[in-house]
Amino acid sequence: MAKEPRNPMEEPIDETPGKPDPGKNTCRGINRRVFLGSMAALGGTAALGSAARSASGAEFSGYPDSFGMLTDLTACVGCRICEEACNKVNNLPSPDKPFDDKSVFDETRRTTAKAYTVVNRFENPKEKDKPLYRKVQCNHCKEPACATACPIHAYSKTPEGAVVYNPDFCFGCRYCMIACPFNIPAYDYWSALEPKIMKCTLCYPLISTGKIPACAEACPMGALTFGKRDELIKLARKRIATAPGRYIDHIYGETEAGGTNWMYISGVPFEDLGFPTNLPHRPLVEATQGFLSAVPLVFTVWPALFTMCYVAAHHRESEDKDEKENAEVKK
């Protein structure tokens, strides 16, 4: 590698997010070469990555050095350039309304089989005439409920941080859509022969070759920062500390649903932007582990217990029979 891998997050934050950034490809000090460097550093640990938590109940606190994204919701202006970039890089069909059509904001949208990411408009509780925008896409949970739900293991959490889905292992039960706390996976109901789940991949094909996701690359406002999750948390804290009036003191996704690799900072409570705020701060998989751990116990104990019931009932029957016979003999 040509350059010593620099950590992009250690760059001083000298520019304010939300201002158009002419050198957007290098915003937050991220450029391709830096990323190649850090990917090389990651290569060693990536090989050590094991499958996400199985039913064994062992502790899993997320992949070290995994990547993530920080959305600065105070910077987003609703230009939908990220939507367009996402549409292109994933070869999705062109949308019903063009990407510069602002009328889409009249209703709250969600991800669909044709759109891995959508931007929604919300009323600003602070300034009525300055609406707020929120980009929605897969949050790439550290311990994804979709992956836990899948009976065929179609989902995997990669050491890079992306939650990816393999349609070859999917029979279309759509339990992942029930399990996702953020309502992200979408199903292609219109295909008779090859219906599949469609969702954001954190541009896994790009990030696994050292590039950055298309939406972050495209964002003209610096609202999306791609980097190591640990560093993004530090960056978010720094921003909140530097401008306490601008942000509320919370990083959404740091602990929600056990933590997500895509995180958010905001100027208004997350509730006001439609984020689910009723989620546990533990991985959702923990809720089902107790049940699953009881399964082998049932398999072991039930046969003995119910055989005993059977034997007891028949013991009583034969006792009754003996008693009757004895009584008859006495007569």
């Binding site: 065929i152 179609a154 029930i178 009723n278 059977y310």
Partner: protein
């Protein structure tokens, strides 16, 4: 030449005897012209083409193709409602073979058949609903999502379906007048029954455990860490109530296919099953109250959905349980049957609440978005109709409501 004709004649008489119940084709077809069959034909002529077109066009054709509500009636009604109502086989076999409740002997086969068909049709609903049904075996062979509750459900439902086919196989063999297989079939009954208990306790509760993954989506009054226990416990009263309902319908509409043992014992058995169902309902009621107390959700009871929760718990669990107790106390078979039908409705209401009505309760337009499209309703009605027709077809032919004298000692 001569031998061949005899064999053909033999086959023909066997066929007439088994399938047409001893009638000739014209006679048989004449018996099929009834008002009930007319209604069934209309339902099927609408529903079956919809199901066929769903496979041709994709799921959107017969569902509301919603991204927020991936599951509709096929699973809410067919799987989450159908499986607990099919606990009849496991509950009756356990009561008779394991606990030694001898007086329910004439209801065991009916219970096993109700269970077998219930599971078979739960799988059929699944085959209609999943995107690529030809991959239904994938959890058994291709990929193992061992941390998934649905993985457990898939394995258990398929294993239990196999167990139930084996449990029911003596009936089929007796129908075909086979002699040799009876012995091994009865020998393995105890093993099969215990396997049935293991599989049933686990997958009945697992259906509830599936929703443990969605704490943010299922309304807190319905979401509880006790969901698996709620689902298992309610499946037991549902099974008892279902046996009461199905046996009452069979005794009413297929009276000529039942023997005197079945008809004569039924009133007394109905009261006994009713007593069991009432106790099981009180247990379930207490568990649900404990659930609210455990999560300290008393304050939610006064909200709109809280009132709906009370309607379900008081109006569809406690009330039928009370009516059931009253019927048992006054020895009124009709009252117990009414209460059993009511309890079955209550069970369905609970499963529909968990899987459809209370899921995503906090999304905007929620109550509007859960209304199923008419094509989905028509397809479900067609599957229900086939279910009933197949049930009737078997009861008409196989020794379920009656005992074949030739096999009396085989049990």
């Amino acid at each position: 030449m001569n031998g061949k004709t005899i064999r053909q004649d033999n086959f023909r008489s066997w066929f007439m005897d088994k399938l047409l119940m001893g009638m000739t084709w014209p006679e048989y077809i004449r018996t099929l012209i009834t008002p009930f069959n007319g209604v069934a034909a209309v339902i099927l002529s609408i529903g079956l083409p919809i199901i066929a077109l769903r496979y041709y066009n994709g799921l959107y054709f017969a569902t509301h193709a919603s991204q927020d509500y991936p599951w509709g009636l096929y699973l809410g009604w067919g799987l989450f409602g159908g499986v607990p109502l099919s606990a009849t086989g496991f509950v009756m076999a356990t009561a008779y073979y394991i606990f030694g409740f001898r007086k329910y002997r004439s209801l065991v086969r009916l219970g096993v058949l109700t269970g077998l068909l219930g599971y078979l049709f739960a799988v059929i609903y699944l085959l209609v609903d999943i995107g690529r049904p030809w991959r239904i075996y994938y959890p058994m062979a291709i990929g193992f999502g061992t941390a998934s509750i649905l993985f457990l459900v898939a394995w258990h439902v398929s294993l239990y379906l196999t167990v139930q086919i084996l449990e029911f196989s003596p009936v089929i063999l007796e129908w075909l007048k086979s002699k040799r297989v009876i012995r091994w079939a009865t020998m393995m009954t105890i093993g099969m029954t215990i396997a049935g208990i293991i599989l049933s306790t686990l997958h009945q509760s697992a259906l509830g455990a599936m929703y443990l993954l969605a704490p943010g989506k299922l309304h807190p009054l319905w979401y509880s860490s006790h969901l698996p226990v709620f689902f298992l416990s309610s499946s037991i009263y549902a099974a008892l109530a279902m046996v009461i309902v199905v046996s009452a319908l069979a005794a009413r509409f297929l009276r000529d296919k039942a023997d005197q043992t079945f008809l004569g014992n039924l009133p007394r058995q109905t009261l006994g099953l009713g007593r069991g169902a009432a106790v099981a309902m009180y247990v379930y009621f207490c568990l649900k109250v404990i659930g609210v107390a455990h999560d300290d959700h008393w304050n939610l009871l006064t909200s709109g959905y809280g009132l709906w929760f009370l309607v379900e718990l008081l109006g569809f669990v406690l009330l039928p349980a009370t009516i059931m107790s009253y019927g048992v106390k006054t020895e009124s078979v009709a009252t117990v049957r009414f209460a059993a039908f009511y309890a079955v409705l209550g069970l369905l209401l609970n499963r529909i609440n968990v899987s459809l009505i209370m899921l995503n309760w906090n999304l905007p337009h929620h109550l509007h978005d859960i209304i199923p499209p008419w094509k989905e309703v028509a397809a479900v009605m067609a599957i229900v109709t086939i279910h009933i027709l197949l049930f009737r077809w078997i009861l008409n032919r196989m020794p379920v409501l009656r005992e074949d004298p030739a096999y009396r000692d085989a049990h």
